[in-house]
C-alpha cells in the first residue's frame, strides 16, 4: 500500500486513540508525510489544543494557517460550526438568539451528538468540496472517538426531521464509504492503550461501518542486541574482548541502561504480541524518540518512518 495513494482523492483520515499515545503527533506526522509526497493537506484540529503549534514551531494557531509547504492547519470548534451552519442556511438571526438565551447549551446538552454532528458536518462539507487531497482530523481526546463518531448514528434515531437530520444522514454516509473516510488508530505498546484500541476498533467497524487504515504503534524502543550485555560482568568481558578498559562506575551505568532497555522492550513486545493476537490490522511502528520533544525535525523523522512503514504494507484488496 502506498501512503501517497492512500492520502488522495480528498479522503478524510480521522486519527483516534487514548490520551497520551501520541495521536496529535501521529496526525502531524501523517500530514507531513502526505505533504512531502506532494499532496495538499488540510489538518483539522479539534478542541483547540496547543500541541500542534509547538510541533510545527509556530505561535498558537488561531485560524487556518499553512504550517508546512502544502499543509494547512484548520482549528474547528463546535459553537462556531453551528453559527456558520445556521448562517449558511439563512438562519443567521436565529443563531444569535439561540446563543443568547442559552438554548444552544440546552439543545446540545440534551441532544448528545449535536456538537459532534456540527463538527463532522463541517468536515463532510470540506470533503465534498475537495478542500484538499487529504483531510486529516486529529480526533477528540481520550476514549471519546467512539462517542464522537457514533453521534450521527445516534442522531438518526433521535432527530426525525430538519436540517440536523440531513447532516446526520450525510455524515453517516461519508463515514461508511472507505473512499471518503477512514480511521487511523493510534496506540502505544502498553496494556490499557492496547485494550482500548481493540475495543475502539470493534466499535468503529461494527457499529459505524467505518474502514480502518493501518494501525500506528508509537514509542517503540529500539531493538538493540543487548540481552547478553546487561550485567557488569558481561560488559567487562566484552570490553576485554575489544581490548579496552572501562571504569567500574561507567560499567554500572552502561549495564543499567542496557538492562532498562531490554526489560522495557520485552514488556513492549508482550503487548505487541497481544495486539497482533487480538486485532487483525496492518501495522506501522514508530520509534521512541530519545533526543527531544516533538518539533519540526522530529516530525520529519516520524513522517519518514510512517511513509516507509505504510509503503511496506501489502496493497489493500
Amino acid at each position: 500500500m502506498e501512503l501517497a495513494e492512500w492520502c488522495s482523492s480528498s479522503r478524510v483520515i480521522i486519527l483516534a486513540g487514548k490520551g497520551g499515545v501520541g495521536k496529535t503527533t501521529t496526525a502531524a506526522a501523517l500530514s507531513v508525510a502526505a505533504a512531502r509526497a506532494g499532496r495538499q493537506v488540510l489538518l483539522i484540529e479539534l478542541e483547540g489544543k496547543s500541541g500542534l503549534a509547538s510541533m510545527f514551531g509556530v505561535e498558537a494557531i488561531a485560524d487556518e494557517q499553512e504550517v508546512y509547504p502544502g499543509l494547512r492547519v484548520l482549528p474547528l470548534a463546535a459553537d462556531e460550526a453551528l453559527v456558520e451552519y445556521l448562517e449558511t442556511h439563512g438562519l443567521g438571526k436565529m443563531a444569535k438568539r439561540l446563543a443568547n438565551t442559552g438554548a444552544l447549551d440546552i439543545v446540545s446538552t440534551a441532544v448528545p451528538g449535536m456538537k459532534e454532528i456540527l463538527v463532522l458536518g463541517k468536515v463532510k462539507a470540506l470533503q465534498r468540496a475537495g478542500a484538499a487531497d487529504v483531510i486529516v482530523v486529529d480526533g477528540p481526546a481520550a476514549g471519546h472517538a467512539v462517542t464522537f463518531l457514533l453521534s450521527p448514528k445516534g442522531l438518526l434515531d433521535a432527530v426525525r426531521v430538519g436540517p440536523v437530520l440531513t447532516q446526520a444522514v450525510e455524515v453517516t454516509e461519508m463515514l461508511a464509504d472507505p473512499d471518503r473516510a477512514q480511521v487511523m488508530l493510534v496506540t502505544i505498546p502498553e496494556e490499557t492503550p492496547v485494550n482500548e484500541t481493540v475495543e475502539t476498533a470493534q466499535a468503529l467497524t461494527e457499529r459505524i461501518g467505518l474502514t480502518l487504515g493501518p494501525l500506528v504503534v508509537n514509542g517503540v524502543y529500539p531493538d538493540r542486541p543487548l540481552d547478553e550485555m546487561a550485567t557488569p560482568e558481561e560488559i567487562r568481558a566484552e570490553a576485554a574482548a575489544a581490548g579496552v578498559t572501562i571504569p567500574d562506575g561507567e560499567i554500572e551505568h552502561l549495564a543499567r541502561a542496557a538492562r532498562f532497555l531490554t526489560r522495557r522492550r520485552r514488556l513492549q513486545e508482550e503487548q505487541l504480541a497481544r495486539l497482533t493476537e487480538r486485532l487483525d490490522l496492518p501495522r506501522v511502528t514508530l520509534p521512541f524518540l530519545f533526543s527531544a520533544d516533538i518539533g519540526p525535525g522530529e516530525l520529519e523523522v516520524l513522517a519518514e518512518a510512517l511513509t516507509a512503514g505504510v509503503d511496506a504494507l501489502p496493497a489493500v484488496a
Binding site: 436565529m94 438568539r97 439543545v107 481520550a142 476514549g143 433521535a158 550485555m229 552502561l254 541502561a257
Partner: protein
C-alpha cells in the same frame, strides 16, 4: 543513596516511609488524584489507598478506568455501584498491618450512579421512573460531557457521608480538560435552571398564559432545526425533572464544599514530557484559582538518570571487531538515556519553578509492569518517600 529506577537487590527491612504523600495516606480523609490521561493516576490512587490500609485505616479507592490487570489485582471485574472489600491476604501478605486496616475498591459505574441520584431526589417513585425511561435522560446519563466527572464527585460525596471510611482516594476521569469535575456538579444545576427550561416547563404551569412571546419564538426556532418531536421529547424530559432542581443544587453545593474543605487533599499526577508538564501547570493554576490546595505533585514514569561517557574509550589495536561493535551499541544506548534524562530534567525544573511550594515526588518508570499488589508496593517505595529536593536537579545532580 538509592537512585530512582534502582530495584533493591535484596528485600531489606520494611522502612517506614514518611514523605508528604505517606502523611496524606495516614491522616487525610479524602485524596483526589488528578492529571491528564496516561500518566498513571489510577496507579497512584491505588498505592495511596493501599498505604492507608497498611497504616490501619479503612480505605477505599474509587477508580474510573483501571487497566484490566490492575483491576483484577484489586478484585474488580466489573463496573459496580458499591465498594468491594479486597481480601486481607492480598494486600497484606505478611500480616503486618494493624487490625483496623481494610482496603476496598470500586470501579465507577456512571449510569447507575446517576440513576441512583435521580431516584433519590425524585418526589415520588413515579417521577423517578418517568425520568429513567425518558429517551433523552438515557442519552444524557450515558454520553453527556462531564457526566462521568459529576458522578465521580457524587460517589465521593456518598462514600464520605455513608460509607464509614477513614480514607477515600478518588481517581478523576481522563478527559482532556481533567478539571471538568470541578464544574460538573454545577453544570446540571445550570441546565435545570436555564430560561429555556423554564419556558419548556411553562405549559404545565399557571404562568403559561403570560409566557413571553419572544421565548415562544425561540422555541419555534429550535423546533425548526431539530424537529418538533425532539422539542416535545425535551419538554417531557424537563417536565419529568420538575421539583428536583433544588435537591440537585444543594447536592452540588455540598460536593463543592467538601472539595474546598481541609479534609480534601489534591494530588496532581504528571509525567516528565512537554505536554503533560504544561497541562500539570495549568491544572495547578486552575485548582489554585478555585481555592483548592494542591498537596502534592507526583512526576511519574521518569526514566533512569544515568551518567558516564557518550562513546567507548579507544580500543587497543588488538581489539576484536564484533566486540567493538557491541560496545558501540552499548554506549549508543547509554547516550540515548543520558539525553532523555537531560530533557526530562529540563521539564521538571520548569515545573518546579512554577508550582512554588508544592512538594514534588518523583516516581521512576519501573522495569516491570505495575499490575499487582507487589508492583504497587514497589511504586509506593517512591511515591511515599521524601519529596525531591527541588531545584537540586535530582539525585545525580549535574546540569
Amino acid at each position: 543513596m538509592t537512585l530512582p529506577g534502582d530495584t533493591p537487590e535484596t528485600p531489606g527491612t520494611e522502612e517506614v516511609a514518611d514523605g508528604p504523600l505517606a502523611r496524606l495516606a495516614r491522616e487525610q480523609p479524602i485524596i483526589v488524584c488528578c492529571g491528564s490521561g496516561g500518566v498513571g493516576k489510577t496507579t497512584m490512587a491505588a498505592v495511596l489507598a493501599l498505604a492507608g490500609a497498611r497504616q490501619g485505616r479503612n480505605a477505599v479507592v474509587v477508580t474510573i478506568d483501571p487497566a484490566k490487570r490492575l483491576a483484577n489485582a484489586l478484585g474488580l471485574d466489573a463496573l459496580s455501584d458499591t465498594a468491594h472489600e479486597i481480601e486481607r491476604e492480598l494486600w497484606d501478605p505478611d500480616g503486618v498491618a494493624p487490625p483496623g486496616g481494610r482496603l476496598s475498591a470500586l470501579m465507577l459505574d456512571t449510569k447507575s450512579t446517576f440513576d441512583h441520584l435521580v431516584l433519590k431526589y425524585s418526589v415520588d417513585q413515579a417521577q423517578g421512573e418517568r425520568i429513567l425511561e425518558n429517551t433523552f435522560y438515557r442519552n444524557v446519563s450515558g454520553a453527556l460531557a462531564g457526566t462521568q466527572e459529576y458522578m465521580a464527585m457524587e460517589k465521593l460525596h456518598e462514600l464520605h457521608d455513608e460509607g464509614g471510611y477513614d480514607l477515600i482516594v478518588i481517581d478523576t476521569p481522563p478527559t482532556r480538560n481533567a478539571l471538568d469535575f470541578l464544574d460538573a456538579p454545577a453544570r446540571l444545576t445550570r441546565l435545570l435552571n436555564n430560561k429555556l427550561f423554564r419556558l419548556l416547563m411553562a405549559p404545565t404551569r399557571a404562568s403559561f398564559r403570560v409566557a413571553n412571546f419572544a421565548l415562544q419564538a425561540v422555541f419555534r426556532s429550535v423546533a425548526k432545526v431539530i424537529g418538533k418531536e425532539v422539542v416535545e421529547d425535551l419538554v417531557l424530559f424537563f417536565q419529568a425533572f420538575e421539583g428536583m432542581e433544588e435537591g440537585f443544587r444543594q447536592r452540588a453545593q455540598r460536593v463543592m464544599d467538601l472539595l474546598s474543605d481541609d479534609r480534601t487533599a489534591f494530588v496532581l499526577v504528571t509525567a516528565p514530557a512537554r505536554d503533560a508538564v504544561s497541562e500539570a501547570r495549568y491544572f495547578h493554576d486552575r485548582l489554585e484559582q478555585a481555592r483548592l490546595r494542591v498537596n502534592g505533585l507526583v512526576v511519574n514514569r521518569i526514566h533512569p538518570e544515568l551518567g558516564g561517557a557518550a562513546s567507548p574509550p579507544p580500543g587497543s589495536a588488538g581489539g576484536d571487531g564484533p566486540a567493538v561493535g557491541q560496545l558501540e551499541e552499548l554506549y549508543a544506548n547509554l547516550a540515548d538515556f543520558i539525553e532523555l534524562s537531560r530533557r526530562e530534567r529540563g521539564h521538571l525544573e520548569g515545573l518546579e519553578r512554577s508550582v512554588g511550594a508544592v512538594p514534588i515526588v518523583r516516581v521512576p518508570l519501573l522495569e516491570v509492569e505495575v499490575c499487582d499488589i507487589a508492583s504497587l508496593t514497589e511504586v509506593g517505595r517512591f511515591l511515599l518517600g521524601p519529596a525531591s529536593a527541588a531545584a537540586s536537579g535530582g539525585p545525580t545532580g549535574p546540569k
